[in-house]
């Protein structure tokens, strides 16, 4: 099964995934129109700032067993095994924030949402773009990511690619493939910053 895979080393912190995610979970599905919607659509993927100002797209890992599901008081959090996705039923959610204590990645937010009962604050997190997947479209964050920090592929394919990358890097005389223009420079800068702070 294909899933969203995060490659943190590639993220440039542009936050395009957040916009795309919010728009994909809006009523109108259009970024242009979504900004004036009520409740205002909010993203389920969160680009966190690292200690050195580097970005990281933090999204739900759909853990199994999921700590949030185990901690959920009203049983609103459940796993859809067919799509290997942990989902929250907004009608059952009581906004108790027990899942906030349980999520080791801090990816759950609490706000009103287009699919929740109007005026009700509920727990909201990534649903692997359930609606888009029904329409055979890939998740919005992956579609928006310009640097392939988010990819949609099978775990096996991603693992193989990583293994190949590592194999190539240890071969003598191998050329490293450029990730994208400007990337080497950015990574070099970050590495220097980190080294300066950790002599």
């Amino acid at each position: 099964m294909k899933k969203v895979i995060v490659h943190p080393e590639r993220c440039v912190g542009c936050m395009q995934c957040m916009l795309a995610c919010a728009a994909a979970h809006s009523k109108t599905k259009s970024l242009f129109l979504a900004v004036s919607e009520k409740p205002q659509p909010k993203p389920r993927v969160h680009v966190g700032v690292g200690l050195y100002e580097e970005g990281f797209p933090n999204r739900c890992r759909h853990c199994n067993p999921a700590p949030c599901q185990l901690a959920c008081l009203p049983g609103a959090i459940f796993r859809d095994n067919e799509i290997d996705t942990v989902l929250i039923d907004p009608d059952k959610c009581i906004n108790c924030a027990s899942c906030a204590m349980a999520c080791p990645f801090g990816v759950i937010r609490y706000h009103e949402d287009a699919v929740a009962p109007p005026g009700k604050t509920v727990a909201v997190k990534c649903d692997n773009c359930y609606e888009r997947r029904q329409q055979k479209r890939i998740p919005a964050c992956v579609e928006a990511c310009m640097v392939a920090a988010l990819t949609f592929e099978t775990e096996a394919a991603a693992m193989k690619r990583k293994t190949d990358e590592i194999s190539r890097s240890v071969s003598t005389g191998a050329e490293t493939a450029a990730l994208s223009p400007g990337f080497e420079l950015l990574n070099t800068l970050k590495k220097v910053q980190i080294e300066m702070r950790n002599p």
Binding site: G48, L51, N58, P67, L70, A71, C96, M101, I108, N198
Partner: protein, 420 residues
Amino acid sequence: MEYVIIGNGVAGISAAESIRQLDADGNITMIGDESGLPYCRPMISMVLEGTATPNQLPIRKAKFYDTLNIAPIFGERVTDIDVGSRTVQVGTAQSVAYDRLLIATGADPRPINAQNQELKNISYMRTSLHVANMLQSLAGTRDALVLGGGLVGFKAAYGLLRRGLKVTMLIGSGYPLSLQVDQTAGQMILKELVAQGLKVKVGVEVTAFEGQDKVEAAQISDGSKIACDMVVIGKGVLPALSFVPRDHIEVDLGIMVNAHMQTSNPHVYAAGDVAEYIDVARNSRWVNAIWPEAVSQGRIAGINMAGRPVAYAGSLSRNVIRIFDLDVLTGGLVTPPHENGYEVMSAMHAGRNTYRKMVFCDQRLVGFTMVNDIEQGGVLMALMHHQIPLTIPKEALLDTRFNFKQVMTHGAWAASPKAA
């Protein structure tokens, strides 16, 4: 294999599900004193408050026992365990044999020492029945008295305030929730509650209740008298283990278990509010009588009972409280003892109305309190639970921008050979 589970709460339910996942053929018997479907105990305060309905409480469907092929014995308490012949005595007549026994009886409300407790409208708040009774007598009441400033007392007071009653709370310590939150957060909660009309009396106890049929007033240890037509007793809970043979199964405050939730008798396990295991933040034995612990411990107990040895990392206290405009999330040791070795850092952000306090022991996070902006609380819980030594500046955890990436990057960097 004969599995017997005493207790139909979430620890027992989680254990039964875990056993069934690993052992399709074993016989599972569940014994519970509350008849009816297993329900979500923390939500009973929301029923009192009116934000949840009683039909939202059940955590499993009625066919749960059939689906998992469980033989239920409900409405009865276990009176004795014979570890020699491996049987449990249920009520007076029935005895059930076991190969693996789980004690998940939970806890009972701590009784108070006051006269005339049998008057009407005086109740504990532990079961859905208690709350149903409170709701029934709600119509004729105006002044409620809540005994105890712990989580139950606090939730009762909050619920009754929201129902429009005048509420007076008697607290033993200086501020509410003194075991759950630190003093600063406690004062913030108290201020919020007082602003909403709660009256608080500190450092006093009830000595006796007065009234003809229903309660009408309470005599206080300082000699004064408080008029009230409803009383809620929320002075904490005690593990329900009166039937446990202490000469065969080691008992401290709770039933002592090892990392596999196994008691000193290898055929007997314990989990949930009745069990006592190592608290990772305190680094000592502790009963953490909270819902998420019961779920985790029940699960671990079930897996081990079914023959797959899995160790539990340790228990940890935690709480999240949402009242009016405050979100309060706490975990671990919120107010460390004064001995050396603990480092405390805190930060207030007046603009965002947030407060954070972190308690460290060496390089480990062992406790925290956060008010508002609580979304990253789970990351802190995970750092504590897995006892991960911090390699980032401790101040970073106080920042509202703190997120998973900050621990991830640095962990990876520290583990790389270059940094070593």
